[in-house]
C-alpha cells in the first residue's frame, strides 16, 4: 500500500475523471420542464443543428425555483445561456431583476402577445391549464362534478379534495395570480376556506393527481400534463376546466417560457436554440407528447386526448403577468407562513 508505483492506476483515474468532465463549447440550457418531456427535444435540436447542448434539469422537489435561484446566484458570471421555464412568472421576475437579455425570435410569430415581452425579454409558448382532475369512480355523474375553484371551499366537498402547496411550480404562480385577480380580501377568504374545509395540501401536482387517481380524494387541482399521465395509464379520471361561467374567473393557462440570459456565454447558439424551442414543430411535439401541452398557436394541432381542450375552446383567466411576477416574493412569504415548508 505504500508503494509509489501507482502511475498506471493514476492514468486510468485521470482518464476517467477527465471523461466525466464535459467540454465548454456547448450551449447551456436550464430546463424546468420535466426532464422526460424535454430531453428528447434537446436531442433533436442537437441532431438537426450539430450544436451541443448541455442541459441542466430541475428536480421535482425544487421545481423551477431551484433553477431560478441558480440563475440569480450565478448572475455575476452567468453559466446559463437559455432558460426554458415550464411556467412564466419566474421568468418575468428574472426579467424584472435585469437578468435577461432581449431577443425577439422570428420563430415567435403567431404566439399571442399577451405572453410575450414587448422587447423580447421572454416569450411564452405551449401552455398547461390548471384543471380539476376528478375520480370518475367516485363521481360517475358529470352533473355531480365540481365546476369551479370555489368548490374546494364548498362544505359539500369537505375533506374530499386536494391542492398542491403553493410554494413552488405552477401552483405558486396560480395562487399568486389569483391573489391579483380576486384581490387580497377575496383571496384571503378563499385561503381560509381551504383550511376550514379540510382540503388536503400535498407536495406537488403529481401528488394531487395520484391522490385522485387512487381514490383518496374525489377531485383536486392539477396541471393538464399530470392529468394526461393518469388518463393515458387507464385510470378512472376526468378533467374539468373550471370557472367557465361569465361571472367566474376562467381557467388559468400557464405557458412555458423561454429567455436568453444576460451575458450568456454562448449567445449566438443560444438564439438558435430559442428559435428551435419556439418553433411550431416543438409546440406540436409538446402537444403530441406525454405532457400534452396546449399550443398557443391555433395553427398547431392540439393534444390527441379530447379531454384537453384547445386554447380557443375554453375561457382562460386574464391575469397580469408583470404584476404577478412582481408580487411573487411577497406571495411566496405569505404562502410559506400559511402552508409551511
Amino acid at each position: 500500500m505504500r508503494s509509489t508505483h501507482w502511475l498506471p492506476l493514476l492514468s486510468v483515474l485521470l482518464a476517467c475523471t477527465l471523461s466525466a468532465c464535459g467540454t465548454d463549447d456547448a450551449v447551456v440550457l436550464y430546463v424546468a420542464l420535466d426532464e422526460e418531456h424535454s430531453k428528447q427535444l434537446v436531442a433533436r435540436f442537437e441532431r438537426e443543428t450539430g450544436t451541443r447542448v448541455k442541459a441542466r434539469f430541475d428536480t421535482e422537489a425544487s421545481k423551477t425555483v431551484g433553477l431560478v435561484s441558480a440563475i440569480i446566484e450565478e448572475s455575476s458570471r452567468p453559466r446559463c445561456d437559455v432558460f426554458w421555464n415550464n411556467e412564466i412568472a419566474h421568468t418575468v421576475r428574472l426579467g424584472q431583476k435585469g437578468l435577461l437579455a432581449p431577443y425577439v425570435s422570428p420563430a415567435a410569430e403567431g404566439l399571442p402577445s399577451a405572453y410575450r415581452h414587448t422587447e423580447g425579454l421572454y416569450t411564452g409558448f405551449a401552455a398547461r391549464a390548471r384543471v380539476l382532475i376528478v375520480n370518475t369512480d367516485l363521481l360517475p355523474d358529470p352533473a355531480e362534478r365540481p365546476t369551479s375553484m370555489w368548490d374546494l371551499i364548498d362544505p359539500r366537498w369537505r375533506g374530499r379534495c386536494a391542492v398542491a402547496r403553493p410554494l413552488t411550480g405552477t401552483t405558486l404562480t396560480h395562487f399568486t395570480a389569483l391573489r391579483g385577480v380576486l384581490g387580497d380580501e377575496e383571496f384571503e377568504r378563499f385561503l381560509d376556506g381551504l383550511f376550514e374545509n379540510d382540503v388536503q395540501f400535498l407536495q406537488s401536482n403529481g401528488a394531487t393527481m395520484r391522490a385522485v387517481r387512487d381514490g383518496d380524494v374525489a377531485f383536486a387541482f392539477t396541471d393538464t400534463d399530470d392529468f394526461h399521465v393518469a388518463l393515458t395509464k387507464g385510470y378512472p379520471v376526468a378533467c374539468v376546466f373550471p370557472d367557465q361561467r361569465a361571472d367566474e374567473v376562467g381557467t388559468m393557462l400557464i405557458p412555458n417560457s423561454v429567455a436568453l440570459t444576460l451575458g450568456a456565454p454562448h449567445a449566438e447558439a443560444a438564439r438558435s436554440l430559442i428559435d428551435f424551442i419556439l418553433s411550431e414543430q416543438v409546440e406540436g411535439l409538446l402537444a403530441a407528447g406525454r405532457s400534452a401541452q396546449i399550443p398557443l398557436r391555433s395553427t398547431v394541432p392540439g393534444p390527441a386526448a379530447q379531454e384537453i381542450l384547445g386554447v380557443d375552446a375554453f375561457r382562460s383567466m386574464e391575469w397580469d403577468l408583470e404584476g404577478t411576477a412582481a408580487s411573487l416574493e411577497d406571495s411566496s412569504r405569505l404562502f410559506q407562513n400559511r402552508f409551511g415548508g
Binding site: 500500500m1 505504500r2 508503494s3 509509489t4 508505483h5 492506476l9 493514476l10 486510468v12 483515474l13 476517467c16 475523471t17 477527465l18 471523461s19 466525466a20 468532465c21 464535459g22 426532464e35 430531453k39 428528447q40 448541455k54 442541459a55 441542466r56 434539469f57 428536480t59 421535482e60 422537489a61 425544487s62 425555483v65 431560478v68 435561484s69 441558480a70 440569480i72 446566484e73 450565478e74 455575476s76 458570471r77 453559466r79 419566474h90 410554494l167 413552488t168 388536503q200 395540501f201 400535498l202 407536495q203 406537488s204 403529481g206 401528488a207 395520484r210 399521465v229 393518469a230 393515458t232 395509464k233 387507464g234 406525454r290 411573487l328 416574493e329 411566496s332 410559506q336 409551511g340 415548508g341
Partner: protein, 528 residues
C-alpha cells in the same frame, strides 16, 4: 530517503484533497454564517431552532432516526444472529447476503414499497429507512460474532448455563451492534431522498433534511433571500447530533474484539424451528432486495399502466428505451463511480496508514464528511466552488467525483486503517531487513495483505457512489446520474422506463463486487 519523500508527498496530496473537498466546503459554510457584509456577525447563530417549524422538524427527524435505527437493529442483528449462530438452512449464503440490500438505492426501495403500500405514515417511512440501513448492523454484528472465541463461549456455558452464556455473548458483541446502529442512525436522520420522495407521494410531514433542502432551493426566491446562511444555520443541530452519534460509534467500534485465530462459536441447533427461523433472513432479504426488484421488473413490464397491463413485449420495450435514452447517464454514472472510487482509495490509503501507525485521531477526523448530511455537503461544494476561479470545474463531472470521494472517504479510511492495524509491524520490518526492494515489498507483502481490504473499501465506495442521490440533486453535475434521473422519471409517470433503468443500475452495482471477487479470487473483507 527517496521513498520517505514519496510517501510524504502522497500523504500531503491526500491532506490537500481533504482540505479542498471536505474542509473548504464546510469552512465556506461556517464562514457564511458569521461573516456577512464584510464583518463578523453572530446574530444568525441566535436563530438556531428559534423557529417552531425547525424545532418540530428536528424532533420528528430524531424520532424517525430512533425508530428507523430500532428497526435496522432488529433486522440486522436478527439476521446476523440466525445466520452465524444457528444451523439454519443455507445459513452461510444467507449470512453473506446480509450486505446485499446496501446495493439498492434507498429511493428505489421507497418507490417499490410506495407502489404496493401506503408509505406516507411515519411508521412506514421509518420501516423503509430501517430496512435500507440494516446492512450496517448486520455486517458489524456478524463481524462481532465471528470475533468471539468459541472456547470463551463454551467456558461461560459450562460455568453459568445457556441463558447466561447467551447474555454474555450479547454483551460481547454489543459494541459492534451499537456501532452499526449508530451508523444506521446517522444515515437515517440525514437522509433526504427517501423522505422527499414520500412527500411528493403524499406524505404531509417533513424531516429536517427536507427543511434544509427547501430553504436552500428557495434561497433566492424571496423567502430567505435576506438570510442566505439560513439553511446552513438550520442544519447545525443535525450536524451536532450526527457528529456525536458517529464519534460514539467509532469509540464502540474501537472497543470491539479483534478477530484472531480461535475456534468459531458453536452452532445452536434450532431443531423444529430450523425452517421457521428462515422467515427472518428471508423476510429481510425479501423486503430489502427481492420485492424492490420484482416491483421494478413489473414496472418495466407495464404494471402501472392499467390500459395495457404487464407483458413481456412491454418489458423488452422498456429496456430498449432505457438503453437508448439513458445509456449515456448509465455510462456517466459508472464513470463517475469508478473515478470516485479510485480517488477515494488513493486518498484513503495514506490517511489510513498513518491513522494505524502514527496518528489514531485521523480515524475520528475522517468521519467529518459523513457527519454532515449529504445535502449540506453538496451545498458546501456549491458555496466553495461556484465562483469565477473554478468556473470550469463547478459544473463538470470532476466535482461530482471529488464530492463522492469526499463523502465516502470515512469508509475507505476506517476499512483500510483496520486492515493495517491487523498486520504486525514486524512483518514489514522483516521484509525490509531481508533486503527486499521497494517494488517487491509492495507486490509481495503489502498488496496481498491489503488487497481484500482495498477491494471491499473500493466496492463499498462504488456501490454507495452509484446509489447516492442527495449530493446529486444539489450539484449541477449530478444531472446525468442514473439515480437522479430515476427519481425524476417516476415523478413524471415514466415508471416503465424507470423500472428498467433501476434494474440496470442494480445490475451494474452488483457486477462490480462480483468482478472484484472473481478477479482477485478472494473474499472481500466487509465494512469491518
Amino acid at each position: 530517503m527517496r521513498r520517505a519523500r514519496a510517501d510524504s508527498l502522497w500523504l500531503l496530496a491526500a491532506v490537500a484533497f481533504v482540505l479542498a473537498f471536505v474542509a473548504a466546503p464546510l469552512g465556506c459554510m461556517a464562514l457564511e454564517i458569521v461573516w456577512t457584509g464584510g464583518r463578523l456577525d453572530l446574530t444568525p447563530l441566535g436563530t438556531i431552532l428559534g423557529d417552531e417549524h425547525d424545532r418540530r422538524q428536528l424532533l420528528t427527524t430524531v424520532a424517525l432516526g430512533v425508530t428507523g435505527t430500532l428497526i435496522a437493529t432488529l433486522l440486522g442483528l436478527g439476521h446476523a444472529w440466525v445466520t452465524f449462530r444457528t444451523d439454519l438452512f443455507a445459513a452461510r449464503a444467507l449470512g453473506a447476503a446480509g450486505v446485499v440490500p446496501l446495493v439498492l438505492p434507498p429511493i428505489l426501495v421507497a418507490m417499490a414499497f410506495s407502489d404496493l403500500f401506503d408509505t406516507r405514515g411515519f411508521a412506514a417511512c421509518a420501516a423503509l429507512l430501517g430496512l435500507c440501513y440494516a446492512p450496517f448492523v448486520a455486517v458489524l454484528a456478524a463481524r462481532g460474532l465471528r470475533a468471539i472465541s468459541g472456547e470463551a463461549y463454551e467456558a461461560a456455558l459450562v460455568a453459568r448455563g445457556r441463558a447466561a452464556a447467551e447474555r454474555w455473548l450479547l454483551r460481547a458483541i454489543l459494541p459492534e451492534v451499537a456501532a452499526g446502529a449508530l451508523f444506521a442512525f446517522a444515515f437515517v436522520i440525514s437522509e433526504h431522498g427517501v423522505p422527499e420522495f414520500l412527500t411528493v407521494k403524499g406524505k404531509s410531514w417533513h424531516t429536517y433534511a427536507e427543511g434544509i433542502f427547501a430553504k436552500w432551493t428557495r434561497r433566492a426566491t424571496g423567502v430567505d433571500h435576506a438570510a442566505l446562511a439560513s439553511p446552513i444555520v438550520a442544519a447545525l443541530p443535525l450536524v451536532a447530533l450526527l457528529a456525536v452519534a458517529l464519534l460514539v460509534a467509532l469509540r464502540l467500534r474501537g472497543r470491539a474484539t479483534i478477530e484472531g485465530d480461535h475456534r468459531p462459536l458453536p452452532m445452536r441447533r434450532l431443531g423444529r424451528l430450523r425452517h421457521v427461523a428462515l422467515a427472518l433472513p428471508l423476510g429481510y432479504l425479501g423486503c430489502g432486495v427481492v420485492l424492490p426488484l420484482v416491483v421494478m421488473g413489473r414496472w418495466a413490464g407495464g404494471s402501472t399502466n392499467r390500459a395495457t397491463g404487464v407483458s413481456l413485449e412491454r418489458m423488452l420495450e422498456s429496456f430498449r428505451l432505457a438503453v437508448t435514452e439513458a445509456s449515456g447517464d448509465l455510462g456517466h454514472t459508472l464513470l463517475v463511480g469508478v473515478a470516485a472510487t479510485g480517488v477515494l482509495l488513493l486518498v484513503a490509503a495514506p490517511l489510513a496508514w498513518n491513522a494505524a501507525r502514527r496518528w489514531p485521531w485521523i480515524d475520528h477526523l475522517s468521519i467529518a464528511p459523513v457527519a454532515v448530511p449529504a445535502v449540506l455537503l453538496g451545498i458546501g461544494m456549491v458555496r466553495a466552488y461556484n465562483r469565477d476561479l473554478f468556473y470550469g470545474f463547478y459544473d463538470h463531472g470532476a466535482i461530482l467525483v471529488a464530492a463522492y470521494a469526499a463523502r465516502f472517504l470515512p469508509f475507505g479510511v476506517l476499512t483500510l486503517s483496520a486492515a493495517v492495524r491487523r498486520v504486525p509491524r514486524e512483518l514489514e520490518e522483516a521484509a525490509l531487513f531481508a533486503g527486499r526492494g521497494q517494488f517487491a515489498r509492495a507486490v509481495r507483502i503489502h498488496l496481498p495483505l491489503f488487497a481484500p481490504a482495498l477491494g471491499s473499501a473500493g466496492c463499498l465506495a462504488m456501490v454507495l457512489a452509484l446509489r447516492e442521490l442527495d449530493v446529486a440533486v444539489v450539484l449541477p453535475a449530478g444531472n446525468g446520474t442514473v439515480v437522479r434521473r430515476l427519481s425524476n422519471i417516476v415523478h413524471f409517470g415514466g415508471e416503465e422506463m424507470g423500472g428498467a433503468l433501476a434494474l440496470l443500475l442494480v445490475l451494474a452495482a452488483t457486477v462490480v463486487p462480483l468482478l472484484a471477487v472473481i478477479l482477485t479470487g478472494r473474499k472481500l473483507r466487509s465494512l469491518s
